[in-house]
């Protein structure tokens, strides 16, 4: 029977080619849309690596408007942090730059241990884990131990460790980047002191990226660039009243600065709604494409099966049961889908999407591929099943007369 079906498909080259082209195109669209959705869902589900609830974002700016590095002093930051920590409602306070959900980002890249790596980087003081609820997988966070260390201490995410060293067991390893050209300045020496599971500065919609923290502790003295954001972890249910009191206290402590306080939860909503715009646009376009594909495929398959009503009648007249015909038509469609899917998968696997579009993990890619293959089978079989059943339920004489 399979041979018989193959022969039919082969001799109906033109119709089969049309169907195959439609199925192939549908598969590509289906795969694209599925990949986008699976990537978004995967991003949304992965843990952030920090806790934004009950954390406040405090922006610190010199009121003179001059460049802050020239007017800001480590001593000011130390005093401000101490002042905030005096409040009983404040559980922790720490400096970070850039802060979670902030629009700014720092990128770094280099060849480390023979591997090229691009990663996001932020500076933070010794108290960040308490202020942000960060937990380490291995090693430790920055501390006084690092004062005067020859190599700059860094804490890296697990993905960074695996990318560079093929293992998460990297505490104590040298992570100094190689010098690129002879004329460029030698990169600073760096040593890994701790590993985080993950840290996603941009929030739930951020794709997987490597992340590295460097130490910026005002109290250590050796600080290249002063952070301008303090994160304050407050007791649950703290409200505007505390915000007001904090603001007044900060202004009294250092009148030369202006301060701005915003709950991290609010920054998160803002950030997510900004990231959601392209996502929602993509979703609407994707949905539209899916509907188009479903309609197109149903139309083509419907027409294909309806055209064969007479053939179906003939088969019935020669002894095929309704169920046989029904199964045969679906088997033929499944055969075509298989050919289209094989071609589609071959093409999709050739294109190194994972290299072009960063942030697609191999599991996500594989899952999307599997989902779109299943989806195409489902869609095609559903589109063919109804007309096939209709044709099979006719009396053979009636089906044979069908125009």
């Amino acid at each position: 029977m399979i041979l018989h079906l193959l022969r039919l498909v082969w001799h109906r080259k033109r119709q089969s080619a049309l169907l195959l082209a439609e199925l192939f195109a549908s598969f590509l669209v289906l795969f694209g849309v599925t990949l986008g959705s699976v990537v978004a869902a995967d991003n949304w589900r992965r843990p952030l690596g920090f806790e934004w609830e009950n954390a406040w974002f405090v922006q610190i700016r010199p009121s003179t408007g001059e460049r802050r590095d020239e007017v800001m002093a480590s001593a000011d930051l130390i005093a401000l942090r101490a002042a905030v920590r005096e409040f009983p409602e404040v559980q922790a306070a720490a400096f970070i730059d850039p802060a979670p959900f902030q629009q700014s980002q720092w990128m770094d890249a280099g060849r480390i241990a023979g591997r090229r790596v691009r990663f996001r980087i932020a500076s933070a003081d010794d108290g960040l884990p308490e202020a942000l609820g960060i937990k380490l997988l291995a090693g430790r966070w920055f501390s006084r131990e690092d004062d005067g260390a020859a190599a700059e201490p860094i804490v890296v995410t697990e993905s960074f460790a695996r990318h560079v060293f093929d293992t998460a067991d990297v505490v104590g390893r040298d992570a100094t980047a190689e010098q690129e050209g002879r004329d460029s300045a030698p990169p600073p020496a760096r040593r890994i002191v701790g590993v985080l599971a993950d840290y996603r500065q941009d929030g739930e919609l951020m794709g997987p990226e490597h992340y590295v923290f460097r130490r910026a502790e005002p109290a250590s003295g050796a600080i290249r660039r002063l952070p301008r954001v303090m994160l304050v972890r407050v007791a649950p249910d703290s409200g505007v009243a505390l915000e007001e009191r904090l603001l007044r206290r900060l202004e009294r402590e250092r009148p030369g600065y202006t301060f701005q306080i915003e709950p991290l939860s609010q920054m998160r909503s803002t950030r997510n709604s900004i990231s959601l715009v392209p996502l929602a646009t993509g979703g609407v376009i994707g949905l539209f494409l899916l509907v188009m594909v479903a309609l197109g495929l149903s139309g083509v398959l419907w027409q294909n099966v309806t055209q064969r009503t007479r053939e179906i009648g003939l088969r019935r007249a020669h002894g095929a049961a309704a169920a046989d015909v029904f199964r045969q038509v679906l088997a033929e469609v499944a055969l075509l889908v298989t050919i289209a899917v094989l071609a589609g998968v071959a093409l999709v696997v050739q294109v190194p999407l994972m290299d072009i579009v960063s942030g697609i993990r191999p599991e996500v890619f594989a899952r999307s591929l599997a989902l779109s293959v299943l989806g195409l089978y489902g869609l095609a079989l559903a589109a063919a099943a109804y007309p096939a059943r209709l044709a099979a339920s006719l009396e053979p004489a009636e089906a044979l007369r069908y125009e």
């Binding site: 041979l3 109906r12 003939l314 088969r315 019935r316 020669h318 002894g319 004489a397 044979l400």
Partner: protein, 222 residues
């Protein structure tokens, strides 16, 4: 073998009702060779469709092998069509996208049988109708008479006990027509196949055991 009792067939379209057959009582014994004659449009094909279980009567009963057909389920009706009945259509109904050999194999496809045996049986049937040199042709590459013979070969390939032929010699010249008739007589005599054949040709009808005449949907005594 075949019994029709008070059978009526009415075609209903949007506005008109066509009574194609009415008050048909007919018995065909096993091994009989019956010719059906009558003017165009009198209901001959309709009768054959009913006997071949391709269509259901509007009223009356049809019995095949002693059991009313209406009581069969789809599986059983399909098995009867497949194994007991061979049908030669007035308009051939060959599948244009399949080669001659594959067309003839079609009824065998719905039987438990090895591919090699199917091939062998279909080839033998085509040899009997004198088309062994056209196995790999497509229907569109054959003349009308050759297509007719492919349709006969297809009906014969399953070695049915009942052969229903709707004007099997209609598209053939008289010599070829005689050959096909010889083939049918052969099947009837040597293999005991029950044959019901529609024809316009009195000469061919004379070769049958008996002739049923239909006029305007009714049986005419003769």
């Amino acid at each position: 073998m075949i019994r029709l009792a008070n059978v009526e067939k009415v075609y209903r379209t949007d506005r008109i009702e066509t009574v194609a057959l009415s008050q048909i009582d007919l018995t065909v014994a096993a091994g009989e060779f019956v010719a059906v004659m009558g003017p165009s449009g009198c209901g001959k094909s309709t009768l054959l469709n009913l006997i071949g279980l391709l269509d259901a009567p509007s009223s009356g009963t049809i019995e095949l092998a002693g059991k009313p057909v209406a009581s069969y389920r789809d599986r059983e009706v399909s098995r009867l069509r497949n194994q007991t009945i061979g049908f030669v259509f007035q308009t051939f109904h060959l599948i244009p996208d399949l080669r001659v050999l594959d067309n003839v194999e079609l009824p065998l496809l719905y039987r438990k049988m090895s591919g090699a045996e199917r091939r062998a049986r279909a080839t033998r049937a085509l040899e009997r109708v004198g088309l062994s040199s056209r196995l790999q042709h497509f229907p569109s590459q054959l003349s009308g008479g050759q297509q007719q013979r492919v349709a006969i070969a297809r009906a014969m390939a399953g070695e049915p006990r009942i052969l229903l032929a709707d004007e099997p010699t209609g598209n053939l010249d008289s010599q070829m027509g005689d050959e096909v008739m010889g083939l049918l007589e052969d099947l009837n005599q040597k293999e005991g196949t029950t044959i019901v054949m529609v024809t316009h040709d009195q000469r061919q009808a004379d070769k049958a055991h008996r002739t049923i005449r239909i006029f305007d949907g009714r049986q005419v005594a003769c």
